[in-house]
């Protein structure tokens, strides 16, 4: 038995929900942008904002610098809006939600009823969930309890109406419309996503979470998330995602913006499990995402933790702009690719303020015929006196047909900044596997144990609820990785 004998993993979230949806015809022009904006009853300024983004996007071409290869996306073949029919303006309570949808989330282990907790979690800490199905938010739990603490947690389409001043002030302030091709596309057609506002001095009383699901065929999902943490506040936010198994590729182009003011802290965790395609590389999600946080205030902190196991192609660099003095940025990442998956992921840490610090821990695991790249930028400006960065970048290869690549960029413009970079590449060896087998452990469990050990530094950073989940997910994604 050798670790080269790879067989595909089972994707348990791959089912399709039969729900009556309103889906617009494929293709993108100004009328589609206006349709989406009208559908959400948006104010004029936002419609204009979208149109500007669209006009910019129209003149751009997709980026090609990432170490990923795929046929050109036909943006005219994608439908830019799909919503389950009954949702309409958004259901007033869970009773209005299509029971078929509730069953969908039950199957995925996502609690829509407030008395339930996330699947597999024994700890009875409630988690508030915003549930996004294709282009709309289905429901948000624990809204009332959060409101008592002054926390706003709602679909962004709702926030546009209920808190326009906050949305207008911060939307696009971290990721501008023209930031990149996919961010521009998202700005033009984003349909839903979560909005979070934590008032000054408030420690959010529970974990907030958004669960994204793509269901409809030939549609893209373009959600937009905006999180604002006022002075001295704290929030931990979790994000999960799945999609049905379909033969064609589907586009997911999200934008996430985080703003941390003085002494505020945002912890953002992702478990990304979009459909990765089948064992021959057919189908799967194109995950082209722009995530960025701004540490605007002194001593603020933004921490990204991601566990990326899904998607056919991942193109994603959750970043932190460290503007406030003494602010802290962190990036902890596990990216696992199997079969024909391709991942090009990493981070950017932009040091602008004094004594700003950043930590990057990246763990890439490549199995099958997959390609896994780390791409990271550490930049210090001339004003960033005393800036420090520590980067550790480890790759683990399973079998002999996968690839691991590291593209670190360092742009240091401050002579007294300290930047450290460490990188390793290792292989799950036949000898390690044999040691485990000789102690009675079957090879699949052994590989999962070895990979989990490799990822320990990152899993430690995940909230309890997700750490368990992430471990299980790795096990499933590697299922049959040894035969």
């Amino acid at each position: 038995m050798a670790i080269e004998d790879l067989v595909p993993s089972e994707y348990s979230a791959g089912f399709i929900t039969d729900v009556d949806s309103e889906t617009i015809a494929p293709g993108l022009d100004e009328s589609v942008v206006r349709f989406i904006s009208a559908k959400k009853s948006e104010p004029g300024w936002l419609t204009d904002w979208r149109i500007k983004a669209y006009e910019y996007w129209r003149q751009q071409t997709p980026p090609t610098w990432a170490h990923v290869h795929f046929p050109e996306v036909d943006f005219e073949a994608i439908s830019y809006y799909s919503a389950p029919k009954k949702a309409g303006e958004g259901p007033a309570s869970l009773d209005d939600v299509d029971p078929e949808l509730i069953r969908t989330y039950e199957k995925l282990g996502i609690p829509l009823h407030e008395q339930e907790t996330l699947a597999g979690v024994e700890k009875k800490t409630p988690v508030a969930v915003d549930v996004v199905f294709d282009s709309v938010s289905i429901t948000t739990t624990f809204k009332d309890k959060l409101a008592e603490a002054g926390v706003i947690f709602c679909p962004i389409s709702e926030a546009v109406r209920s808190h326009p001043e906050l949305v207008q002030k911060y939307l696009g302030s971290v990721v501008p419309q023209r930031d990149n091709f996919y961010a521009a596309l998202n700005s033009a057609v984003f349909s839903d996503g979560s909005f979070v506002y934590i008032p000054q001095g408030v420690r959010c009383p529970m974990e907030l979470s958004t669960y994204f699901r793509i269901n409809a065929q030939n549609t893209g999902q373009f959600e937009r998330t905006l999180i604002i943490a006022e002075k001295g506040s704290y929030v931990s936010y979790l994000e999960g995602c799945t999609a049905p198994m379909r033969d064609e590729n589907q586009l997911h182009a999200a934008v996430v913006e985080l703003i941390a003011l003085e002494d505020a802290e945002i912890k953002y965790s992702t478990v990304q499990n979009w459909y990765p395609g089948d064992k021959n590389g057919k189908g799967g999600i194109y995950n082209f995402v722009t995530k960025r946080g701004a540490c605007r205030g002194a001593r603020s902190k933004i921490s990204w933790t991601q566990v990326e196991t899904g998607s056919a192609i991942t193109w994603k660099y959750p970043s932190v702009v460290l503007r406030g003095d003494d602010s802290v940025g962190e990036f902890y990442s596990v990216a696992l690719t199997n079969n024909y998956q391709q991942a090009d992921t990493g981070t950017k840490m932009i040091h602008l303020g004094r004594n700003t610090r950043s930590t990057i821990i990246s763990k890439g695991i490549s199995a099958g015929k997959s390609q896994n790249s780390y791409r990271g930028l550490v930049r210090t400006s001339p004003a960033a006196h005393g800036a420090r960065n520590y980067t550790q970048c480890d790759s683990l290869l399973i079998g002999s047909e996968s690839g691991a690549h590291t593209f670190p960029y360092i742009e240091n413009m401050n002579p007294n900044a300290i930047i450290e970079h460490e990188a390793t590449t290792s292989k799950v060896s036949d000898d390690q596997l044999f040691l485990c087998q000789q102690r009675g452990i079957d090879p699949e469990k052994a590989v999962s144990m070895i990979v989990n050990g490799f990822c320990k530094d990152v899993f430690r950073e995940l909230p309890m609820e997700f750490a368990v989940e992430a471990g299980k997910l790795l096990e499933v994604s590697l299922e049959g990785a040894v035969g």
Partner: protein
């Protein structure tokens, strides 16, 4: 019934025939020492008993407790009670020793239809074994063999032996690279493991280990076959004369 029975075993490694008709019987409650010059096939014997990939049985049979072992997967052999103490234990970074030991114990228990060990009891047991082997409990939290000295790695193998308590212990040059104090600790562990129901196959290059673990039988392996068997006095003879007189 004999614990281990090897009949006319021929083993090929990468196109080269290494074992060329080896016969060996290990009774319950006994310690057999396998000695021999470098390249005689000692480690191949250990590997093929454990079912290591790449060691191809060309002909011959291996029986454990009367059951044919030839085509049994390595993990199933372990579950049935074959234990190999490695000559060069590999490192598994990030997987703590404690976690690894629990996984091993639980998998073996599950294969035998038993419940997994109670975690608290398990940890107590591991700590107490570690103490007898003079191993700092701190090392149980470290990655498997990660950053261990040669002596620590060998003592860690004996810790696994005592915890898993197999039917047949195959010790592949466990004495190599040990100073005299460590050798005594390791030998003490092996002697502690011995009982009337299990057996030990002690593969060693140096007779000095046999001062600490007294074998019932000593076999000399040369060019893939056993050329001489005897009692413990054979080891003393080898110490005096070397191997040349047997292999010429």
């Amino acid at each position: 019934m004999n614990l281990l029975e090897i009949q006319d075993l021929h083993v090929r490694v990468a196109d080269q025939l290494i074992l060329k008709g080896l016969n060996l019987t290990v009774e319950k409650g006994s310690v057999h020492a396998i000695m021999g010059p470098n390249g005689s096939g000692k480690s191949t014997l250990a590997s093929v008993l454990a079912g290591k990939p790449g060691y191809e049985i060309e002909s011959g049979e291996i029986f454990l407790d009367g059951e044919l072992l030839n085509d049994v997967k390595p993990e199933v052999r372990a579950q049935r009670g074959v234990f190999l103490a490695f000559q060069y234990p590999v490192e598994i970074p990030g997987v703590s020793n404690m976690e690894f030991l629990k996984a091993a114990l639980d998998n073996i228990a599950a294969a035998r239809g038993n419940q997994p060990a109670n975690t608290v009891e398990f940890m107590k047991q591991v700590r107490s074994i570690a103490k007898t082997l003079d191993l700092n409990p701190e090392f149980l939290k470290r990655g498997v063999n990660e950053g261990f000295s040669g002596g620590e790695k060998k003592r860690n193998e004996i810790l696994q032996l005592l915890l898993l308590n197999p039917h047949l212990a195959v010790l592949d040059e466990t004495d190599s690279g040990l100073d005299i104090d460590a050798l005594q600790v390791v030998a003490g562990g092996i002697n502690h493991y011995r009982n009337t129901d299990n057996g030990v196959l002690l593969i060693t290059h140096y007779p000095r280990l046999l001062d600490h673990i007294v074998p019932d039988r000593v076999h000399v392996l040369a060019d893939g076959v056993i050329v001489r068997s005897g009692d413990k006095t054979l080891a003393l003879e080898l110490e005096d004369k070397g191997y040349a007189w047997l292999t010429d």
